[in-house]
Symmetry: C2
């Protein structure tokens, strides 16, 4: 007798998994090794930016009161008393009709309250002294970037969970974060099941296929911010499989198995969850592909039983495992970005369950289109290589036409979203 | 006298740089270490997929001719002569009214030409033999995935230059690519110029700022697929700077310097290019920010002189350095993806030069909107952290309004495009 399983809705399945989410620990890493890590501390300004009044241009710092009578008919002459580049410090306080030649980014000398751009100044030399004359009136504060005008000391700049991209790195460097606190990467164990599986370096023999899911998942784990530990494959025998899984659970934060979750004669995972006394959260989801996706929990460890079918395995990872990893990394937007898009081809199949269709996004005249990555049989193998989103077709619908508005979940969106 | 430079159009500047592009070398890496690398070989199918006729379901393999008289009134009984799981090989050739119990993915036994799903079969035991009865007629080939129906041996699956994502990894594993030929990562040297610069671990002192550009660029280089070697900063003195740059050029494929390319009194790069006898391709581009971006070439090495201003530096990297790296990595779509999008806020500034505005993309009802990441002064420091695209406003325009259609260059698009 085949076991009858009751499918639950995808949203409910995601919720059940996320009830068991945990946040990870923090660790310090060098700024040199923090690319694409996620912040485990808030980053606040440690000083004003700029940290001194500075010049936005090459030019001459002067006292605005000395320019009040300047005009094209009445140039005002200044003695140039100092010449400072960025990083050099002015040493002289300006007195009446004195100017300091100043370069972009340099500190405004004391006494000065404005900067005349180089292009509007006439320079001359006389008696070994330098002079500059100006034909226009300047206002106090003109062409000066005031201390703290960009950021005030203490201002919150980046929340916990922010991914460290080049712009974030610039902020860390600016404020002297030589070391930065990031989320420790979760260690995700991967075990494949199936007597039919060969490893990648084994010769193909009749009746067998190479294990591609484990390598694919390793790559998905790395993209999601985790560390993959691949433990090879389980034979379709209970005792060694049970022992192996029990041992692996000692070494990982999360366990993923592929295959073995159907109701077939050789599908061992249900019995292994029972023997482990793990609580099975669900063993059937109202979705295609991946309806056999099973998730169990033991203590604070999630055990993901993904389908052995590559597409189902891929979808199961992105829908259920990825948000758990993202939450572990302090990301407040752990879910795939969901957008509306225009379907670019007919999709005639009915959808008894919610369907996640391998797709990619294109853009046309300000609109977002969703293209199917693997509709033809001949594309099955390459479709995942081209997938950048899943088109989501609700269960109970009877097919869609080119031009219909549909939903899509973006796999590479840098922001994500807070709810599924 | 300030040197007058003649600005060239952005497109022309990009073309001039790309005239000096080179493709890199190839190296073999393990499938375990190939994430996000780019293929330097075409990947073709090394065998048929599936490599044998297989069952898509759990069920019974039978001879369709034996089912021709089956109906709900007239069930046909089969003797079950073998029971095979995926990865097990059938050993028996089916004779009249014999069936093989078969699991999903298993090889079809010889003699059989169709599979009856488990759900439509009645099983029974008699005299230590297993029987199955079927109430429906089956067609030859029904529920059989034919050898080679997904991919034929020799079929081209992925071109050179493809980035190795999880789906590509699955293909590599499927066909036994334990090692894969990828593009060697270019080594990009980074040198900062400017007496005002402190390193990230130095205490802030008056008049100085920390060097944030080098750390930002290191991250941009890594994202683009290169290896960054940071050589520290040059003092604003000619001789040691010249010597350092000459030495660094011995060790890198491409050199990036930040700062020192203006016409200010302390800007040494123009003289260094002259002393190196490097050909300056341009030293002024009709763009904001980054108009001082300078690119020179010596032999087959490109020397990028990016602005010292963080935003200008960031833009200069993405427009000019990134496509060179992408081409080096065999990517036929080396340029940033350019799309049309709807401006989500007023942008009142006139644009004497083409302007690249730090922005990010949002989606609304099937439309793509472009949001400004750093319009307020107070956002200057954090704007690059939120930037996912550049809005492109053509030179000679006088400002744009919310709702206008504009162009945007996407920084994270997985596909990119073939022309700028």
């Amino acid at each position: 007798m085949v076991e009858r399983r009751i499918p639950i809705a995808v949203q409910e399945a995601v919720n059940k998994v996320m009830e068991h989410r945990i946040t990870g620990e923090r660790e310090k890493v060098s700024i040199l090794n923090c690319n694409n890590r996620r912040l485990a501390e808030k980053i606040s300004a440690k000083h004003n930016i700029p940290s001194f009044d500075k010049s936005p241009y090459d030019g001459f710092a002067v006292r605005s009161e000395d320019t009040q009578n300047a005009s094209s008919d009445n140039p005002v002459e200044f003695e140039v008393v100092e010449h400072i580049g960025a990083g050099q410090l002015p040493t002289k306080t300006l007195k009446v009709n004195q100017a300091t030649r100043i370069m972009t980014g340099a500190k405004i000398p004391s006494g000065a309250d404005c900067v005349a751009m180089f292009e509007v100044c006439q320079t001359s030399d006389r008696n070994n002294k330098q002079y500059m004359s100006l034909k226009r009136k300047m206002a106090a504060g003109q062409n000066i970037i005031k201390e703290g005008s960009e950021v005030k000391n203490g201002e919150l700049l980046l929340p916990e969970g922010t991914i460290i991209n080049p712009g974030v790195k610039a902020i860390l460097a600016t404020f002297g974060y030589n070391q930065v606190e990031v989320a420790r990467k979760p260690v995700i164990g991967v075990l494949a099941t199936g007597t039919e599986l060969l490893e990648v370096d084994q010769e193909l023999v009749p009746g067998k296929i190479r294990n591609s899911n484990a390598y694919m998942i390793a790559s998905q784990i790395e993209q999601a911010g985790g560390i993959c530990k691949y433990y090879g494959k389980l034979a379709d025998e209970f005792d060694p499989s049970y022992k192996k899984i029990k041992d692996v659970l000692e070494e990982v934060d999360i366990l993923i198995t592929t295959g073995g979750v159907s109701v077939g004669d050789f599908d061992l995972m249900p019995d292994i969850y029972a023997e482990l006394e793990a609580e099975v959260l669900f063993n059937k989801v109202a979705m295609r592909p991946g309806s056999v996706t099973t998730v169990a929990v033991k203590g604070n460890q999630l055990l993901f039983g993904l389908s052995g079918n590559p597409s189902a395995c891929y979808v199961g990872f992105e829908l259920f495992v990825r948000p758990v990893i993202q939450h572990y990394l302090f990301n407040n937007n752990p879910y795939l970005k969901r957008i509306k898009a225009t379907l670019a081809a007919d999709f005639p199949k009915p959808n008894p369950f919610t369907r996640f269709v391998r797709s990619y996004i294109t853009y046309e005249n300000g609109m977002v289109n969703v293209q199917l990555a693997g509709m033809d049989k001949s594309n099955v193998v390459t479709s995942l290589a081209h997938t950048t989103c899943f088109m989501v077709l609700p269960g109970g619908t009877r097919g869609f036409k080119s031009g219909d508005q549909v939903e899509a979940l973006l796999l590479n969106d840098p922001i994500g979203q807070g709810e599924f």
